[in-house]
Point group: C2
Chain length 370, copies 2
């Protein structure tokens, strides 16, 4: 018995996973984290109305969700001033990125992203046999002109660009994105990941005609709306592209309580504004904690802060490990020179207290072993 | 601007979807259904403990779910008497079937299923470029020996077999499956869809060594456990195959409240037994309603009944349409001769009352237009 015959593509794929979750780390260390501020979750949580909607719909969970996410999709369209045919709802941006890559990328096709940008996108590209071309950051920002130049060079079908950026929290103006679009090679699609857009300044949002065939934009209820565990993302763009998702998506893949929760969250923009204010205050607190320990916080247009540890990646990795050992769940950029930073998500007063207490001790731990 | 360049595979795919949901039908008809007994949902719902677990976890929805579904996966492993490395949790059987097809099926690869079996499996096979070979039912049952013979003939990488069957509710004994396995061609994987297994007689469950590389089994919380809208399925089999899902699955794709709900549902086997009894009573009621109207119910090992309308597919389609027009959501098999039947899911007393009232009127509607 030889067992199943995998495709050549699958047989060649490594078994790596994009991220190890905090629960796995907690099991390994045998203790829960004191502060869960490493996955850019929004600890302030969703609107109480969204929680109530999910709780209410839990009693209806015997029904499949609406396979077209009709109510949520129409509400999103109205919110964005576009048509319902221009929006597709999916299982988080992660799920939608998987579908998008599958739509465009056959084995050997070129795809461009920034070195150090979102690993889950890279996971999907590898998973469909795409050839990733990585462009360095410019300073601490993704370099859109360089990404586009690389796309022209390698004839890329797809370019990934996050605005605001993760893991550095930097941002590009909408005007710069609009200008760059006009240099995009014909037949290259720009995937504009706006997961953190609710935290960004208003001028970070480009004005792009919805039927412009050069761009697809991805947003989520995981960050600003505080519903990471619900798995609701959406993409919007030209109708033909959006409708092509129907050819492959898991039509009955949405959790129905999550659909109801996202709709309620969208309808409570006051709560979103309240959370954005709380996040801004927390980011100020992170900057003060960093400064008090001789570190510096980079400007942030997201719900997290890249804190520059002032030395190289080895040093930052030691600081990170020391923080984790002290019960503070944080992560950090993967590549130099951004790996001089650690990435800290905004939190409530209690998470900030835990961070303020642990950071000087973690730095002392590192100094003691140097 | 030419727009995005799809893969050749995607460009050739039709835009058909596997199923139109009842909400879409309700929007089209401008009124809600009186009885939602067409999608084999379990209207008796999940354990109250599962609902409570989901409601409680809704307040924690700001956190991503555990990407390894550790607690649920370990509980399932204990329940099944296998190792946690032998179980993968995913976004319903639909999601897991998509991953399974992607693991094995490259464009042009042969796949075997029954003509009239689960359309969503076919959707996934087409979506990855597989070549589907369909085998007729034998009587009203999927014909496992014929499926295996076809697999040998076309060198299939994958054979789909549901036990119990959908849409006919028939079943095969576990002993027959065990015997058939020994005739499976080397390198062909049997996907054994056991979505309805909780409703089946005990002897429908085959005894297969967990590390047997010839089979993967798929089960769900959508049917017996009454959580279709939560999107929790699981597959179990040999560890190397199960672990290969990690190469491609959406690691953070599970809704965390659904994970908690499924765990609580699994731990309440008394509720499951209670529901199975209620379903059996409802199926008896469906048979009596059918008989009272001159129709006959086929034996069922699931939570639904195939009701033989006694004539051809055109007649059954008219009966179906008349029932839908009268507010009874039901579906029916797609191919002859099984399309002489309509498929009715078990329901509470209220759904059965609505069915008992509507069926004679629907038959009169059809007679009046004949």
């Amino acid at each position: 018995m030889t067992g199943p015959r995998y495709t050549d593509l699958i047989a060649a794929l490594p078994s790596t996973v994009p991220f190890v979750g905090p629960e796995a780390q907690e099991r390994d260390r045998g203790a829960p984290f004191k502060a869960r501020i490493g996955a850019n979750e929004n600890v302030f949580g969703p609107s109480p109305k969204a929680i109530a909607a999910m709780q209410q719909d839990s009693a209806e969970i015997w029904k499949y969700g609406d396979s077209t996410s009709y109510d949520l999709r129409h509400a999103l369209a109205a919110h964005l001033g576009i048509g319902p045919q221009n929006v597709v709802v999916g299982e988080g941006i992660d799920g939608l990125l998987g579908y998008l890559v599958r739509l465009l990328v056959a084995p050997g096709d070129a795809v461009v992203t920034s070195d150090g940008a979102y690993p889950t996108f890279n996971f999907h590209v590898a998973g469909f046999g795409g050839v990733l071309h990585k462009v360095p950051y410019s300073g601490d920002s993704e370099d859109l002109p360089a990404l586009i130049a690389k796309a022209a060079e390698v004839d890329a079908k797809l370019v990934y660009f996050a605005n605001p950026d993760n893991p550095m929290a930097s941002w590009t103006t909408g005007a710069a994105i609009e200008a760059a679009l006009d240099t995009l090679p014909d037949g290259t699609l720009l995937a504009l990941d706006e997961a953190y857009i609710e935290f960004a300044p208003a001028d970070a949002i480009p004005r792009i005609a919805i039927e412009d065939p050069r761009v697809i934009r991805l947003r989520t209820f995981s960050k600003g709306y505080g519903m990471a565990g619900a798995r609701v993302g959406y993409a919007f763009g030209a109708a033909p592209l959006i409708q092509s998702f129907d050819k492959i998506r898991n039509h009955f893949g949405m959790n129905r309580a999550a659909q109801a929760g996202a709709l309620a969250a969208l309808q409570d923009q006051d709560w979103l504004a309240h959370v954005v204010t709380q996040v801004a205050e927390s980011k100020d607190r992170i900057a003060r904690i960093a400064a008090a320990n001789g570190l510096s916080a980079l400007p942030s247009a997201t719900n997290f802060v890249a804190v520059d540890c002032g030395r190289d990646g080895d040093f930052a990795r030691k600081v990170l490990a020391a923080l984790v050992a002290r019960g503070i769940f944080v992560r950090m950029p993967f590549v130099a020179p951004q790996d001089r930073c650690i990435r800290i998500s905004a939190g409530r007063a209690e998470e900030m207290e835990a961070l303020a207490e642990a950071l000087p001790l973690a730095l002392a731990d590192v100094a003691a072993t140097a």
